[in-house]
Amino acid sequence: MDTQDSAVYTDVVALLQGLPRDRAQLLPALWRVVEHYQALTPEVIDAVSQSLGVPYAEVYGVASFYTLFDNVTGQTPVHICTDVLCALQGAQGLQEAAEAAAVGMPVSVRESACLGQCDYAPAAWIGAHIIRRATPEAVAAAVKAVRHE
């Protein structure tokens, strides 16, 4: 393949600098590229595969297991916990507020399993921050604050 000449390959090599060429570094490597690209495209997977010496199908097999790597749109994920305890505390309203605020924004709203914030239900997770005892207003504001790339 001629991917070794591509811009993505060059970028991925730079992103993975300092990581040993070792299968055990696959998860940290995937995190680095996800934080940079958001979406794991075939080109990115191929570059990771070549950088670490792990077969392409296996890199994809590992990456496709984890929900936090599942982001085909490349947009900032907005995780609304809709699990039992948050649902009892009004997660439905959060989801609706997030979806309304998301129109025209570079975000994708998704239902999340338990975020482990049940003592502060309902909870949402946007960007680097967990919103505890979230209100529809707080979630909408956080969605609106996501930067356009």
Binding site: A24, D83, V84, L85, C114, G116, D119, W125
Partner: protein
């Protein structure tokens, strides 16, 4: 006062959770100095004397596990802190690491010393980014204080990426190794063949924090709380229709009713104010009726008598307006989404239970569900598939809990 503060720092603690001052205020510097001067055998003897059991859910005697890893053949050994808690209603490790990250790390260093490991991992769920930062800072503090470095154990933090099953110990090893986090068949057990086939000691965050406070004191102090069978305290994650949701540390043996109602604990019911049921132990836990809650204590024997277990310490409280079929449907979806897909009973079984629940047929397909659940319990590879039907079975066994009954 019903609450105990041991694993959680007491409320007068003033230092920052990840600071050299905290290390000293909690006596962890002395715990480390004491343990590092002890032989493996002496450390393990102290753990055995304390009676600590694993706090991740399985309640395996910790000293026995350390002894197995210590005696296992092999030059290379690993220790792992399992901070991947991802089960519904379970957040005790999050709170523990937020409030006192040094404790679990000190326990991890003592564990590494005791079994002769030079490499340690902390595996933390990817959703806990802020906690991960605090853990990393605490690790820096330990290194600055001279407990890390080239001659000591190398500790690496690994971030999960959204997979409940990666908290299963052998799946966690596969995740660290860069493979799909599918559980491995046991035996061999991790104590003999864990990470990269080497003997590996893997412990829950709370278990390691217990080790730290034990060595900051001694076994006699440690056993002042708890029951004859289970020494010490347990972190309880209290959520749902309760006045004060949160994580509380209580002695083993405490009545469940006290956990719900004591002013310094749950502080009484919220919602309708009338108890419907308690889901004890997590998504794979047991629904208890109000009567069972009133008569049970937080210990393995008392809960075993009503077919329940403490699990990870999740206590989810539902008032009498909650339709438990709705809760079961949510639980079923959780397991179907989190199944790794490796074995047939779990891959297809969790899917079918979810579908039957979503169709509203949980009560009418009793016989099929029991056969399916039994096969999942008997024939699934790992604990996820084996325990996924437990909450459902607990309601099939307690028809009085059904709102429509």
């Amino acid at each position: 006062m019903n609450e105990v503060r041991r694993l959680l720092p007491d409320r007068h603690t003033v230092s920052h959770p990840a600071s050299p001052e905290r290390l000293r205020e909690r006596g962890f510097d002395q715990a480390l100095a004491k343990a590092m001067a002890m032989s493996s055998e002496a450390i393990i003897a102290e753990i055995i004397a304390s009676g600590i059991k694993g706090r991740g859910g399985a309640a395996f005697p910790t000293g026995l596990k350390w002894s197995s890893v210590n005696k296992a053949a092999g030059q290379t050994k690993y220790v792992v802190m399992n901070a991947d808690e991802s089960e519904l209603g379970t957040f005790k490790d999050r709170v523990l690491l937020e409030e006192d990250p040094l404790g679990a790390l000190v326990g991890l260093l003592i564990a590494a010393h005791a079994v002769g490991a030079r490499k340690a991992f902390c595996y933390i769920r990817g959703e806990y980014r802020e906690v991960e930062h605090r853990l990393a800072r605490a690790l820096d503090i330990l290194q600055q204080e001279g407990w890390g470095g080239p001659d000591a154990v190398d500790v690496e933090i690994r971030r999960g990426a959204g997979a409940y099953i990666a908290g299963e110990e052998t799946a966690l090893f596969n995740s660290i190794e860069g493979k799909r986090p599918e559980p491995r068949v046991k035996p061999p057990f991790p104590t003999n063949k864990g990470l990269w086939g080497s003997p590996t000691l893997i412990q829950n965050v709370e278990t390691l924090a217990n080790v730290a406070v034990l060595f900051a004191h001694d076994a006699a102090w440690f056993t002042q709380y708890g029951t004859k069978d289970t020494a010490g305290t347990k972190l309880i994650a209290l959520s749902g229709h309760i006045q004060h949701p949160g994580v509380y540390e209580v002695p083993f043996g405490m009545p469940l009713a006290d956990i719900l109602h004591a002013p310094d604990l749950g502080g009484s019911l919220a919602g309708s104010g009338r108890l419907g049921a308690v889901l004890l132990g997590g998504a794979a836990g047991t629904f208890l009726s109000p009567d069972e809650v009133a008569t049970s204590r937080l210990d393995y024997a008392s809960l075993g008598a009503v077919g329940a277990s403490i699990g990870s310490g999740a206590v989810m409280v539902f008032d009498d307006t909650v339709d438990l079929q709705w809760v079961l449907t949510k639980l079923a979806r959780f397991f179907a989404e989190e199944s790794c897909g490796q074995c047939v009973p779990c891959r297809i079984g969790t899917q079918r239970i979810m579908e039957i629940a979503e169709q509203g047929n949980l009560w009418t397909r009793n016989q099929d569900l029991r056969a399916l659940s039994q096969a999942m319990r008997d024939a699934s590879i790992c604990g996820l598939g084996q325990t996924a039907p437990l909450a459902l079975l607990s309601i099939l066994d307690r028809p009085g809990l059904r709102r429509d009954a």
